[in-house]
Symmetry: C2
Subunit: 152 residues, 2 copies
DNA sequence: ATGATGATGAAATTCAATTTCATAATATTC
DNA sequence: GAATATTATGAAATTGAATTTCATCATCAT
């Protein structure tokens, strides 16, 4: 963790930025989160240890981490975006349209195919986002068809 | 096209909805669009043939089409969402973080793997979204590394 | 220390998206 | 084919996530 924070700090310095306590607090909390968090959730969490940190800084820091490749922006259609660490597992998500459950999965074969596609287009990938929407086991049987047809 | 519109109408009626001219105008225009459109763009387009149609109806209609599985919501990080027809090719997108270029690609193998994943989780998919972010051929060489490090 | 520049956070702003509500259009019943 | 019921519409108001502004503070280089 310490090493990670130092590495990020170095990258920021290289880019002409400066160190900052608020930002460090945000980054540390972010990587401690187990699940995808919204800005609001993370702000609340950060404020437990650094009460004076504003939501704007959380926004800015997450944008920064995203640009550096450490964070991933997710959108489950809730209105607010969610973020997760992009460090370890590159997993993707199954999102249930009915109960909202999010199932994570990881598939190296899909990733390999993605790499092949990007190479073919001379494209240099920094991150990706794969979300599959549908109905989970509980919400699927029978109900799915009706639900999908409901016009309102 | 006619058949498609009638089919959608039937689905709406089945679900307890009613026919409507405004909605028909939106749906028709939507399927005529070649590229991913924002609500604002589509509204402008619709108004060429049906000037009195409001943006709210375009919103509602696209949500409806999405629920029925005919439209797909995209997010290239521009602020506003984009929509495209979900009818023919199930393609995905490479989005350049620098110049904003969007490259479409289609890969049946990836889709097959996705199906396998969903089956394994007892998940009934209705749509998916795969966006790969990075740097396109023009913006990639050398520049990418710097850009990614820029802290601001 | 001093000056220069980046970072912060509260408040203001922006703007996509949604909700409200009175009216209009469509379907159903008789 | 009128009367009734229900859905759809659109303008305006509202919401709320995200961004911008700006005066102040913190950090870095000298």
């Amino acid at each position: 963790m310490r090493q990670l924070l130092e590495r990020i700090d170095r990258e920021i310095l290289t880019g002409g930025g400066k160190r900052s306590r608020s930002r460090a607090a945000v980054i540390e909390r972010f990587f401690l989160e187990r699940h995808h968090v919204t800005i609001e959730e993370l702000t609340r969490s950060v404020r437990e240890s650094a009460p004076r940190v504003g939501a704007v800084t959380v926004y800015r820091t997450l944008k920064l981490l995203e640009r550096l490749g450490y964070a991933k922006e997710l959108d489950f259609g809730e209105g607010a975006k969610r973020y997760e660490s992009n460090l370890a597992s590159h997993h993707d998500h199954l999102v249930c349209r009915k109960c909202g459950t999010v199932i994570e999965f990881e598939n190296r074969d899909i990733e390999k195919l993605q790499e092949r596609v990007t190479r073919r287009h001379g494209f240099q990938p920094t991150s990706h986002r794969l979300e599959i929407y549908g109905f989970c086991r509980k919400c699927a049987p029978g109900k799915a068809a009706e639900e999908v047809r409901c016009p309102r």
